[in-house]
């Protein structure tokens, strides 16, 4: 079964500095990978996805993620963090065949310090 690991519970970064949120995955075959963000008292919002093609994927709000097959990683990045980026970030993976579940990581709390 597919699974996701987000190794850091919380990521603290100063406003204006680069932000990285780490994600590694395990899946049979090729993965479909997603990042979601959850603001306080809100549902999850889709940020970006990797399906195929270019390993660097650009998404909403200036975020991007890089698919690395050899390292089974899909780290989320933003060149310059904003205070408004403070939220809970979830990485998710789905197999290209087999069951249709989307497996989520436990989430990373990002705190951007003014």
């Amino acid at each position: 079964a597919q699974s996701v690991a987000q190794p850091e519970d919380q990521v603290n970064v100063a406003e204006g500095n680069p932000l990285t949120v780490k994600c590694t995955y395990s899946v049979s075959g090729n993965p479909y990978l997603f990042w979601y963000v959850q603001y306080p008292n809100r549902g999850l919002q889709f940020l970006l996805k990797y399906i195929t093609g270019d390993n660097l994927v650009k998404g909403s709000y200036g975020f991007e993620a890089e698919f690395n097959k050899s390292q089974t990683s899909f780290h989320l990045k933003k060149p310059s963090a904003l205070v408004s980026d403070s939220a809970l970030y979830f990485c998710a993976v789905r197999a290209t065949y087999g069951n249709n579940r989307l497996a989520f990581g436990k989430g990373n709390q990002v705190v951007v310090i003014p």
Binding site: R101, F104, G107
Partner: protein
């Protein structure tokens, strides 16, 4: 257009009571999912529906949990004889189809508190 809506937004119930949580997916979305989000536990898959196909119920934690989807649209998650460990935020999501490429759109959730 309208997103996924859920009701109620908050529900407080006594242990042993039954509760029903409702989800209205995005119009035209054929796939619907239920998840449970507990503090520090991430998202736990519960069940999904795709069109008229039999739902995948393999994520339901016990036989106290059940879900229906009427007319291929609105879904209701029912928890019978609630327990304190059922306290969590229950999230509903929908996607255009069940295809792997389609991202899921989430509702705001129902926060369930069992006292």
């Amino acid at each position: 257009g309208a997103g996924v809506s859920q009701s109620p937004s908050n529900k407080v119930t006594e242990k042993g009571k039954d509760v029903e949580l409702r989800c209205d997916p995005i119009s035209g979305h054929t796939a619907l999912y239920w998840y449970r989000q507990s503090l520090g536990q991430g998202l736990e898959f519960l069940i999904y529906f795709q069109g008229n196909s039999a739902p995948d119920k393999s994520g339901l934690p016990s036989d106290r949990f059940s879900a229906e989807r009427t007319g291929g649209s609105v879904s209701t998650l029912t928890i019978q004889r609630t327990q304190q460990e059922d306290s969590a935020v229950y999230l509903c999501a929908s996607s255009l189809t069940l295809g792997e490429r389609n991202e899921q759109y989430f509702g705001p959730g129902t926060r369930l508190t069992v006292t």
